[in-house]
Symmetry: C2
Subunit: 349 residues, 2 copies
């Protein structure tokens, strides 16, 4: 599934570092009024007229992605999404990114063109400017570092720490899809190793595979909340899994939570694939990662403004801290929430 | 020379990712008025009241540093310096950094504590706030990504593109030391491999070894220029070598240059070590990297303001673009300047 250009393999050293950066970024243009100077100097120059939010992530081949089933164009796109998601999770508007990559000489110029095509598409669709970065070689594999910058109205910034008792817990979209998409891709990769000529029909899994390979950051949610005149009391994006993100809000806000299993938003494809893989869908939602939905709390009085919205699900409410953090099951049992999530450090051998 | 704590080796997995970040950054405090929120949320919140400059660098073990002779505390310090240098090269004031690291399980908690002790020292001495970052595992080696942010007065920002014909070319400090320090360290490392009990006396090389292991970004130069009421017409930092940095200014500014060999500032230790290693000091200055001095141009009329300053050397002047870029040797020969520099992409095998 690697989308390296088939007929053209230009070694990175043929271009050299300076020319490579220019070559890869030549198609990018500057659109934000606050971007005074982009790529090509010691630093980018920005002139924001509001407070800014800054977030950064490092994506490592073999830890965060596997090129056996992640096409480079999708990887470029996803690298940007992961970071923009953090900006939207502050209830802010993403405006600029920088992208640094390190790669070994197994990568060709054409491979990096594919990676940057995905980055470019993400910048175009989400209206952010690529204003800087670094390109270097690595001893092994591909490493991608993205820093995202956004602008926010100070009084509307949503931290993790602002939730109060009785606030409603709300999530955008549906959950568990990215994790189940990964299970399908891993299985097909194993099949492919045994029989490379097998042409699997994955059409029934399209939704969950796209959730894994081409996640979309929820740019629309801060815009929707603005339109609905709702200021979330706290917010976080779901990268590690619902359970650990809820606990982050509870810890930072010093509150407890009652989360209702029956309220968890699941796409039908997630339900059917969980059955097929013999996995419990609630466990997948709580501990599967990479959905990049937004999890936030709102005041009770804002309920009428959000209740009919198809993009939003109220999944619980905040309690006093000493009441703890619990999942209320369909059978009305109360089970303590645990942070499982994706602990990248546990992936080592 | 690895400064891992000798008696304590805590595996990274014993802490877990979230606790590791908290543990490593607990000693850092926020000092800049523009830092509204630091580490611990989806993004940092900054409220600059001036235009900002943003720069990012990725440092890869085996490409940019070798832990055989680079202690981790120094590496942490240097990682910050490399990035602050880019901010000062815009004639700006550095205010915040984010630091992301990926490391394999060969690193212990104590090793990362050393790395962060160096980052902490750099933040303290240079008055910048650590406001974000990411910590993850890698398949192999250590990767460090730093993004630096600074504030600038818009009318005083120095790009690479502002040099004009007849402007003077000026450099801070002295050149070639970092490269010669690396030669000494590499030689001693080879000796160490043969005879680990050898205790070399490196005191005569102290200056150049410090230039390599503990470079200082020139925070003082933008401050000095402010005091002297000099606004540089262009500026760049010297990370790759004088020659390629001069050519960057010439290309961006569409000018030529006459650089005078006799004016190149050399420390006596650089001269003596070049003799010892049988290297031409001018070649070392032109092509050796990592000095992190600032190279800039000023108008002729500013010459009286800078001529007596011990931190600054006038090394040439800018010419018409069609006159080309030349080194004028002590023998009054004119030799075309070539970009050799450190091309990280050529280091691959």
């Amino acid at each position: 599934m690697l989308d390296f250009h088939k007929n053209s393999k230009t070694r990175l050293t043929e271009l050299g570092e300076f020319n490579l950066i220019n070559h890869l970024t030549s198609q990018f243009s500057i659109k934000q009024a606050s971007s005074l100077l982009g790529i090509g100097d010691d630093a980018a120059i920005l002139k924001p007229n509001k407070p800014i939010v800054v977030s950064t992530d490092l994506l490592i081949e073999g830890i965060h992605f596997d090129l056996a089933y992640m096409p480079l164009m999708h990887l470029g796109y996803k690298s940007v999404m992961v970071n923009l998601s953090d900006i939207y999770a502050m209830n802010a508007k993403a405006t600029q990114i920088t992208v640094s990559i390190a790669c070994s000489n197994r990568f060709t110029v054409e491979a990096l063109e594919d990676l940057y095509a995905g980055i470019h598409k993400a910048c175009e669709l989400y209206g952010v400017d690529l204003v800087g970065g670094d390109t270097t070689s690595s001893i092994k594999g591909l490493q991608i570092s993205v820093t995202a910058i956004g602008e926010a109205n100070e009084e509307k910034i949503a931290k993790r720490s602002g939730a109060h008792e009785n606030d409603l817990l709300v999530v955008s979209g549906d959950l568990g899809g990215a994790f189940m998409g990964l299970q399908v891709l891993k299985r097909e990769n194993e099949v492919f190793k045994v029989n490379p000529n097998n042409q699997p029909d994955l059409s029934e899994y399209t939704y969950i595979i796209e959730r894994q390979l081409k996640p979309e950051a929820r740019k629309d949610i801060p815009e929707l909340l603005e339109k609905l005149e709702v200021v979330p009391t706290s917010m976080i994006d779901i990268s590690d899994g619902l359970s650990s993100e809820i606990l982050h809000i509870c810890n930072a806000s010093k509150v407890g939570v009652s989360l209702y299993e029956e309220k968890l938003p699941l796409d039908p494809t997630v339900i059917s694939s969980c059955e097929e893989f013999n996995l419990d869908s609630t466990t997948v939602v709580l501990n599967g990662g990479e959905d990049y939905e937004l999890l936030f709390t709102v005041k009770q009085e804002d309920y009428p403004k959000i209740k009919a919205n198809p993009s939003l699900s109220v999944i619980g409410h905040m309690t006093k801290q000493d009441q703890g953090c619990h999942l209320i099951t369909r059978a009305n049992q109360s089970i303590p929430l645990k942070a499982r999530g994706w602990n990248a450090l546990e992936d080592e051998d």
